[in-house]
Symmetry: C2
Subunit: 422 residues, 2 copies
Amino acid sequence: MNIPNLDLPRVVIIGCGFAGLKLAKTINSKHYQIVLLDKNNFHTFQPLMYQVASSGLEPDSIVYPVRKVFKGKKNFHFRMAAVQGIDTENKEILTTIGSLEYDYLVIATGAISNFFGMKNMEKYAFSMKSLVESLDLRSVILQNFEKSLNTSDLKERESLMSFVIVGAGATGVELAGALAELKKHILPKDYPDLDIRIMQIHIIEAADRVLSNMSMEASTKSKKFLKDMGINIWLNTVVRDYDGTTVSTDKNEFKTKTLIWSAGVKGAPIKGLNARLTRDNRIIVDEFNRVTGYKHIFALGDVACIESEQNGNGHAMLASVAGQQGLHLGKNLNSILKSQEMTPFHYNDRGTMATIGRNRAVVDLSFVKFGGMFAWFVWMFLHLLLLVDFRNRLIVFANWCWSYFNYDKGVRLIVRNVKRAD
Amino acid sequence: MNIPNLDLPRVVIIGCGFAGLKLAKTINSKHYQIVLLDKNNFHTFQPLMYQVASSGLEPDSIVYPVRKVFKGKKNFHFRMAAVQGIDTENKEILTTIGSLEYDYLVIATGAISNFFGMKNMEKYAFSMKSLVESLDLRSVILQNFEKSLNTSDLKERESLMSFVIVGAGATGVELAGALAELKKHILPKDYPDLDIRIMQIHIIEAADRVLSNMSMEASTKSKKFLKDMGINIWLNTVVRDYDGTTVSTDKNEFKTKTLIWSAGVKGAPIKGLNARLTRDNRIIVDEFNRVTGYKHIFALGDVACIESEQNGNGHAMLASVAGQQGLHLGKNLNSILKSQEMTPFHYNDRGTMATIGRNRAVVDLSFVKFGGMFAWFVWMFLHLLLLVDFRNRLIVFANWCWSYFNYDKGVRLIVRNVKRAD
């Protein structure tokens, strides 16, 4: 790889999600050379991915070019590449654009969908773990309605217009809400030839409540919101299989052409690392995010798991955890230079929230839990604040205002012709 | 095809470009059933396609969902389908979603790139005739810079960073200008590791001036603008071949990985029509846009050619001609119902313009020709007015203001991994 050799220790960061981005921003590049690698040339604001899938926002609103973030930062090098493995003996990584030596290596590769070994599910289900997947899902949803127009077979049409979401975590619940809003405000106008009442949205959840990682209040309130919006909720129900047409669970069956998987993720570690992994493939790290057994290798965010008595099986796989770990490791690396001790990571839980639709959100803070219109405004305000830069904020805000006053979503473009697996 | 049978004459329109869109809007659907077909579910504002290719605008700014345009219009049916042929005997069209009978058929299928039989060119050149092609070109341009970082071979790097545009019509000139602005304002910041001075932009043109369909004043002025921006102009030069690496012309050779073809288009007629075609594949129609030999089949826009003494080889293939023909035929069809005579089409030439860059545009009106900053503002104002709806205008305007004051283009995302032909 074409990276200049300097008299500075080189930190190689793999992945430009919330952890990698924050870390690269924090490290003092007067004293370190930073090499940031990612398969894409952009950072993705994952919490709003479901908005892309449901035609609410365009990709440019939730992604941001990495090179633009680090404009002017010295001793910083971004390379678009996929990492193929590590050679820890020679302190070297192997990538699609050649190999590179590191002094410090940070693995921030995030998470991928976890289908728990269900091969069929992996083949037929859609998910929203990347921008490309979200765009594909959007095209499929719209293509389904186009296809519904062309069939006289009612069963076929029902199957095309039925959407089954597996997993009632934030992603599942938010997508369900967005689909319900499409059904109510957009689709009847776009498809006057179709009886949109046929459209069904189902959420299947193995646990006994929706948003099971939030408070009981949030679960109860969001369940009510979902029901009010006409979404069918199936709790205590475990999905067994999906053949592209029929979803089978331990209780019943659903006919659908579109199953969206949001029931679980697992870490995406890299090859060649001899580390202990959790059951869901996360790399076990100490309280400094250092990979057990290695002095100069760290892991951050979704792919890392700090096991401890306080947090049991590690922190939740959330953007806020990843961002804080990135910031923390950056400070620790800066401290090392001043011969200071590293400090252990502590997660500062500022609360969680989810939005189900217009005026319908739930917010859990340590001291108060609330839901409804105010929660929705809080959700919107915070997400705007968190978006990477001003331009994105402005455009997302304009889009949201437009949708709010017009009951109209952005642009419903089919820009990909998505073929199903068969 | 699933279209209700009504007691109304059915007008089937193939293609939702400027002609098809305007026609469908104009036809009185109390008295006609309208079926509009297109391969995409959106209308594309083609004159701004080069902005998508050069990362200036995102797709959602220049495309607009067809269903949204015709929201609430009765007896109107849009279907996303590709037309495979016509059976004029049975007054029926064949499409990817079944066949359909028509009473009136309107062919508004537009134009595709014309490589004049050069097979190699067709294989290796990029063009901008569709949104997908423009997005591919954008990804390729950005991928070239990413690849330039990874090579130590200077020749290879020069070839990656050199862009050859064939054809100095509006599309070619506008893209060249946009690339020059990327070179000046964006790329040096995005790629501090690269010597951006290596980047070369060439325009090759067979005629003896750029913008040869505009006035001499416009040609002279835009040539000066292009030169000022560092673009290499090769007039009176005919391209012979391109093998993916070397462009050969009748005078010299260019090494480049990226050749953009904007030197010619041809009509995209459909199979089964027994019509006279021009040398560039346009369907010859009479002054009512009726296809010679058919009473109920019309052709509009780029795919149609009204041969006459006044306009020689037909009107220019421009959005404004297409739009006016759509409007005119719509009025004629409405007249038929009132047993009125159809009127012949006359093109109302309101002028042409092209923009080369920030503050650099040329405008030709019948009574005055001018260029420079004022022309640029006129260009921008008119294009905003012409964009289909208010939301697009607002977002495009916000983007342009942002670029104007920040010397910064939109988001430079590589969302497609474009593989070259080989």
